[in-house]
């Protein structure tokens, strides 16, 4: 299974700080093995629909092997290796996506009479795409209910997948 994984700029896991073997000279990195136990051990990764929840600094395509456990916002496998870095996910792209999320949040706030969110949206822009994606979804949720939260997340993942060519 092909999935995606956000890492820190130094190539370590966002939460585990595990140093992932990087792809080299066009080939994939070394396989990493760990028993799949969601949120504890195992290789955690995103489907395209999960990307907005975990938006980080550096994005890789990752190949997963073994029995993949599917969760609401992630997949966990006993084995994985980094295949390639998604070069399109760079600082400029992150800024563009963040701005798009901020504009969406403003649009939803205007459409649902939640003008007070304006005070939250713009100051949050400097915090990056993960926060703005959350803010836009939260505005949608407050205006139209929990289904709107998930719908906004789905819209974000479609935007990302289309522009990153995933």
């Amino acid at each position: 299974m092909i999935a995606y994984k956000f890492l820190r700029p130094d190539g370590t896991g966002v939460f585990t700080r595990f140093a992932w073997p990087p792809p080299d000279d066009g080939g994939p990195g070394a396989w990493v093995d760990a028993p799949a136990d969601p949120c504890r051990t195992g290789v955690h990764a995103c489907r395209t629909g999960d990307l907005p929840y975990w938006a980080g600094r550096v994005l890789y395509e990752i190949e997963l092997e073994g029995d993949v456990v599917e969760h609401d916002t992630k997949v966990v496998a006993p084995r994985g290796r980094l295949v390639r870095r998604i070069g399109a996910w760079d600082d400029a792209f992150r800024a563009t996506y963040t701005r798009w999320c901020a504009d969406r949040a403003h649009e939803i706030a205007r459409g649902s009479g939640l003008e007070r969110w304006r005070e939250v949206i713009e100051p949050s822009v400097s915090e990056g795409p993960a926060l703005l994606g959350f803010v836009a979804a939260r505005v949608a949720e407050e205006g139209f209910g929990v289904e709107a939260y998930h719908a906004e997340r789905a819209r974000q993942s479609e935007w990302l997948a289309a522009r990153l060519g995933l």
């Binding site: 966002v14 939460f15 969601p38 949120c39 975990w54 938006a55 990056g128 926060l131 959350f134 939260y149």
Partner: protein
């Protein structure tokens, strides 16, 4: 937790998270929050460092005077 976690919940659950005792769904919401909240990310880092530091201490690392003061404080605390 609901669909997402608030900062207060992250603070309350940080020990459970570090001990890996949160159910997967809650742990996932915890991590999603930490992923976008610099304040909670910093707090989690501090707690990790504290646990790592304190976890290395042995009884012999605590000076006698400090140990006596701590024991005395604990005895007083139990009497209250």
């Amino acid at each position: 937790m609901a669909e997402h976690a608030a900062c207060q919940e992250v603070v309350e659950l940080v020990s459970d998270y570090l001990e890996q005792s949160l159910p997967p769904g809650e742990a996932s919401l915890f991590e999603q929050h930490v992923n976008f909240c610099d304040g909670c990310d910093w707090y989690l880092d501090q707690m990790r460092s504290t646990v790592a530091t304190v976890g290395r201490l042995t009884e012999h690392d605590v000076p006698d005077e400090t140990r006596e003061r701590l024991l005395s404080a604990f005895r007083e605390w139990r009497r209250e």
